[in-house]
């Protein structure tokens, strides 16, 4: 698979994800009360890892970072699935 050109939007996604992480840390006392919060935090962490890998893949080890990117997005979806399953007692 060929290496696609660098897209500025990818940088925007990373910055937005980092902003989200900063907000999550800032409001950690409130967010800690959200049921099964660690899984949501894990989802955000994988979002940051994925969007970071999306940028890094343009500059080094494309195949490795491309795989990490897609694995991270998969992990992000899995985290949300586990959160939904565990938090449904509260949501239901």
């Amino acid at each position: 698979m060929g290496r696609p050109p660098f897209d500025e939007r990818e940088l925007t996604v990373l910055c937005s994800a980092l902003l989200l992480a900063v907000a999550s840390v800032y409001f950690r006392r409130e967010l800690r009360r959200v049921p099964e919060w660690p899984f949501l935090l894990g989802g955000i962490a994988f979002l940051i890892l994925g969007s970071t890998s999306t940028i890094v893949e343009h500059f080094a080890s494309y195949d490795l970072f491309n795989t990490i990117e897609h694995a991270s997005y998969l992990a992000q979806s899995l985290m949300l699935l586990v959160w939904a399953l565990r938090a449904r007692r509260v949501l239901a």
């Binding site: 937005s16 907000a23 955000i44 897609h70 992000q76 949300l80």
Partner: protein, 445 residues
């Protein structure tokens, strides 16, 4: 490989969507935000799958979906937090409502002008004049200056946390007294610019009056019990008086025959001295209980008590007194009350040994405490009896006991800021120890 990861991601997103949509009780906004997030993720995964299978246009679409993901995360977190916190607030409101309706405490919320904002059902029952906006002093109908001062400090922001329960007596204009118990803490609400206060206020007048009546009745019973003991002692003393009279009679008879007999005169004086000492100690023992606490030598007290106690115990029981080899053991106390406590313990010891035996009365000094002990070698007591020992009106003597003796002992010990302990073993006996703080004050001459 990439296609497999994306297919799995797509499946996970769709499964999460299904789980969230089955949770029907969650708020609609929460379901919409999580659906938007999971939908964007699912579409992103789908676009990547298509891209992996050669649909190059899907690459741009996947990037566009990716750009939306953090935004959707943010919206989702905001709504999740808001939804959960509002649920907690609702539950908390329910708890407070239940608390206000169910608990017997009279609780009220006051604003910065000490006017009522809200109150519990018990408050409304206690203070029928209550209505939102009414001033506290009008509602309570009694002057409570200490509460007023504490409330003012609270409203000025000078007090923090809950003040412990405090008792206050209100003097009404008609001379009546009412007793209150209150606790106060500052209360701030985001809707109100100035701090208010939460007040727990209880009118304990009826309770206090009942306690006073109960205390007076118990005191009267205790006084009657003491009189009964004094009667027992008087019976024993009468026997000794008879002995003294016999001595005097013999001496007089001898003087008739020999008017210059110094021995007969000496015998009369000795008998009269002994009778006078006995009378004095009996009078001291029967004295009232209203004496103020004063430096008191326990050594002298026990020496004076030996005679009267022996009479109270009767001839079958032998009083053994053990005193420390010191000049004095001084405490701050009231002699009549301590005499009464020791007499009660001695009589109990006697009753625990129906067939007679020794009763040991001891005094020792341990650290900063004087330790008075009364020991018998009688029937002892079970754990069940021991656990109820100081309960008023609990007795093992049936009609013969008032059930107040040990309660009086405990009260006396508490009056003297002391402690009481009991050791007992069935068929071996019982020891009571009264530990009283020593005093450094000099004894009155």
């Amino acid at each position: 490989m990439i296609a497999l990861l994306e297919v799995l991601g797509l499946m996970a997103s769709v499964a999460a969507l299904a789980v969230v949509w089955r949770a029907r009780r969650s708020s609609r906004v929460l379901r919409l935000t999580v659906t938007a997030l999971l939908g964007i993720l699912a579409l992103g995964h789908l676009a990547n799958v298509l891209e992996a299978y050669g649909f190059t246009w899907a690459d741009t679409t996947a990037d566009q979906f990716s750009a939306l993901v953090p935004v959707m995360w943010g919206l989702f977190l905001l709504e999740t937090g808001r939804s959960y916190l509002s649920e907690r607030l609702r539950a908390s409101d329910e708890q407070v409502r239940f608390f206000l309706e169910a608990v017997p405490a009279a609780v009220a919320w006051l604003d910065a002008d000490s006017a009522l904002l809200g109150y519990s059902d018990a408050w409304r029952s206690s203070f029928p004049k209550s209505e939102p906006g009414a001033k506290l002093e009008q509602v309570v109908g009694a002057p409570l200056p200490e509460l007023g001062a504490a409330l003012a400090r609270c409203l000025r922001g000078e007090a923090q946390g809950m003040r412990p329960l405090q008792d206050e007596t209100a003097e009404l204009s008609d001379g009546q007294r009412r007793y209150f118990r209150w606790a106060l803490r500052p209360w701030a609400h985001p809707d109100r610019p100035q701090p208010g206060a939460i007040l727990i206020l209880e009118d304990v007048t009826a309770q206090r009056e009942a306690e006073a009546r109960r205390g007076a009745a118990a005191e009267e019973l205790a006084r009657m019990q003491r009189l009964a003991h004094v009667g027992q002692m008087a019976a024993g003393a009468a026997h000794d008086f008879n002995n003294f009279l016999q001595v005097i009679h013999s001496a007089l008879w001898e003087l008739e025959g020999n008017p210059s007999s110094t021995e007969a005169r000496a015998n009369i004086e000795t008998a009269l001295d002994a009778a006078r000492d006995l009378t004095r100690s009996m009078l001291r023992f029967g004295g009232g209980s209203s004496v103020q606490p004063a430096p008191l030598d326990l050594l002298s007290l026990l020496r004076e008590m030996q005679g009267p106690l022996s009479y109270a115990l009767g001839r079958n029981h032998r009083l053994e007194v053990s005193l420390p080899r010191v000049d004095s053991v001084t405490i701050e106390g009231r002699a009549p009350r301590l005499q009464q406590a020791l007499l009660n313990l001695a009589v109990n010891a006697r009753d625990a040994m129906p067939s007679g035996g020794p009763i040991q009365l001891g005094l020792a000094v341990e650290g900063e405490e004087a330790v008075l002990s009364v020991r018998d070698f009688g029937t002892g007591m079970t754990e069940d009896v021991r656990s109820q020992l100081f309960t008023p009106f609990f007795t093992t003597k049936g009609q013969l006991g008032s059930g107040l003796g040990l309660n009086v002992v405990q009260t006396v010990v508490e009056e003297h800021r002391g402690r009481i302990s009991v050791e007992s073993a069935l068929d071996l006996g019982t020891t009571f120890r009264l530990r009283l703080p020593l005093s450094a004050a000099p004894l009155a001459s």
